[in-house]
């Protein structure tokens, strides 16, 4: 009976967790960036998840898995590229005060996909993380807080700052483009 359970356990785990492979990879990819590292992270995260599987109490399986992917990504960054975890964003450099808000909305509206992706890539890892979990995975503040292991207030301020910086980066790039074109 115990062996039977052991076997079923793997099957159940796979059924519950493998549908979230894209989400896992997407998060890992945005956090560690290099495709090969992201694949390593996903494999390691699934192994970790399997070890913790018995402790999984139900709830949103994807959010549960993403928390593990997130922690695994950070482990890799700590080992391979600790500088990225320490990086801070210099807001003053990118702030373009000459743009009027109405222009900003328009510039973002017409921004090219590539420049949006580049801007997201340039955010500090913790901001990238909050945005990916919120915008691509639609996690609630509470789920993001659990995944990042921070209070909800921190999630809220992280998201606000992340979006402000993202906006500045996109607007800055767009303004530079326009200047070049003139």
């Amino acid at each position: 009976m115990a062996e039977e359970l052991g076997n079923n356990e793997t099957a159940r785990f796979e059924q519950a967790m493998l549908p979230h492979l894209d989400a896992a990879y997407n998060l890992a990819r945005w956090l560690v960036r290099a495709p090969q590292d992201a694949e390593d992270v996903v494999q390691e995260a699934y192994l970790r998840a399997f070890r913790f599987w018995r402790g999984y109490q139900g709830g949103d399986a994807r959010a549960w898995l993403l928390a593990i992917v997130r922690n695994t990504s950070y482990s890799l960054l700590e080992k391979k590229r600790p500088a990225e975890l320490a990086e801070e964003f210099d807001e003053t450099v990118h702030r373009n005060e000459t743009e009027r808000p109405s222009q900003e909305a328009e510039m973002i509206f017409s921004a090219e996909s590539r420049s949006v992706r580049e801007a997201l890539e340039r955010l500090p890892v913790r901001f990238r993380e909050a945005l990916v979990l919120r915008e691509f995975e639609g996690l609630s503040y509470k789920q993001i807080a659990q995944a990042m292991d921070v209070p909800i207030g921190t999630v809220m301020s992280s998201l606000a700052r992340a979006r402000a910086q993202l906006r500045d980066l996109i607007v800055g790039a767009r303004a530079a483009e326009v200047r070049r074109a003139v």
């Binding site: 009976m1 062996e3 039977e4 052991g6 076997n7 079923n8 793997t10 099957a11 159940r12 785990f13 796979e14 059924q15 493998l18 549908p19 492979l21 894209d22 896992a24 990879y25 997407n26 990819r29 945005w30 495709p35 992201a38 694949e39 996903v42 494999q43 699934y46 192994l47 399997f50 808000p101 109405s102 900003e104 909305a105 973002i108 509206f109 921004a111 996909s113 590539r114 949006v116 992706r117 997201l120 945005l131 919120r134 915008e135 691509f136 609630s140 503040y141 809220m156 301020s157 998201l159 606000a160 979006r163 993202l166 906006r167 996109i170």
Partner: protein, 251 residues
Amino acid sequence: MPCKDKEVLLHAYLDGELDLRSSLEFEEHLKTCAECKEELQTQQNLRKALQGAEAYHRAPGGLEARVRKALPQSSARVVALRGRMRTVEWLALAAAIAIAVFLGMRIATTRMHGADDLVAQEVVASHVRSLQPGHLMDVASTDQHTVKPWFNGRIDFAPTVNDFSAQGFPLTGGRLDSIEGRSVAALVYQRRKHVINVLIWPDESKTESAARTEESNGFHLVHWQSGGMNYWMISDIDAADLRELAGLLGH
């Protein structure tokens, strides 16, 4: 720039995280504050830009196989089969599995022992996989003379293929499957719309054994060895029905 004290509120509003009262209060504020209103528009555009930026990285092909392989007792073999599955099929699969697991938990399972245990688990997995859309049959035919030649060149043995429509077990097709890492012939029979998988592969020990009936995960399994072949039958129908088919198959 939005009001300093409203910035976090604005994002929570954007994300639908405010309770009703705070939400209404913020909407009141928006009516009188052009700057916050602008900012909200900007942030809504930013969200659209992000979501339209093709910035979602889907898992590369092969990653699923790699993950399955790394997991204990994994069923890596299935992966090749599912590459083409679409979301709808996934949902159907998830439902089928959920039902299977549910039944598995509801119906008392019989203990199984030894090496048969592992085979039984693989047979159950094979059966569950076969119920996924598009996986039941490689060759769909009720004609035994179509099904039998189909196996030629695909496996290194010749299973006996007979149609038992007259006895209430129509043959509906066959496919290749894999048990314990070797290719096996899977014959698909039906009984009152229930699927019966019969897995056949050579038995190295060449023993003759009586049919044994097991129950696992809510499925009935009947297996025996005869004429140098292993036979494993599995279905959700009654064990008695299965034994009847076993009799027809020459046990």
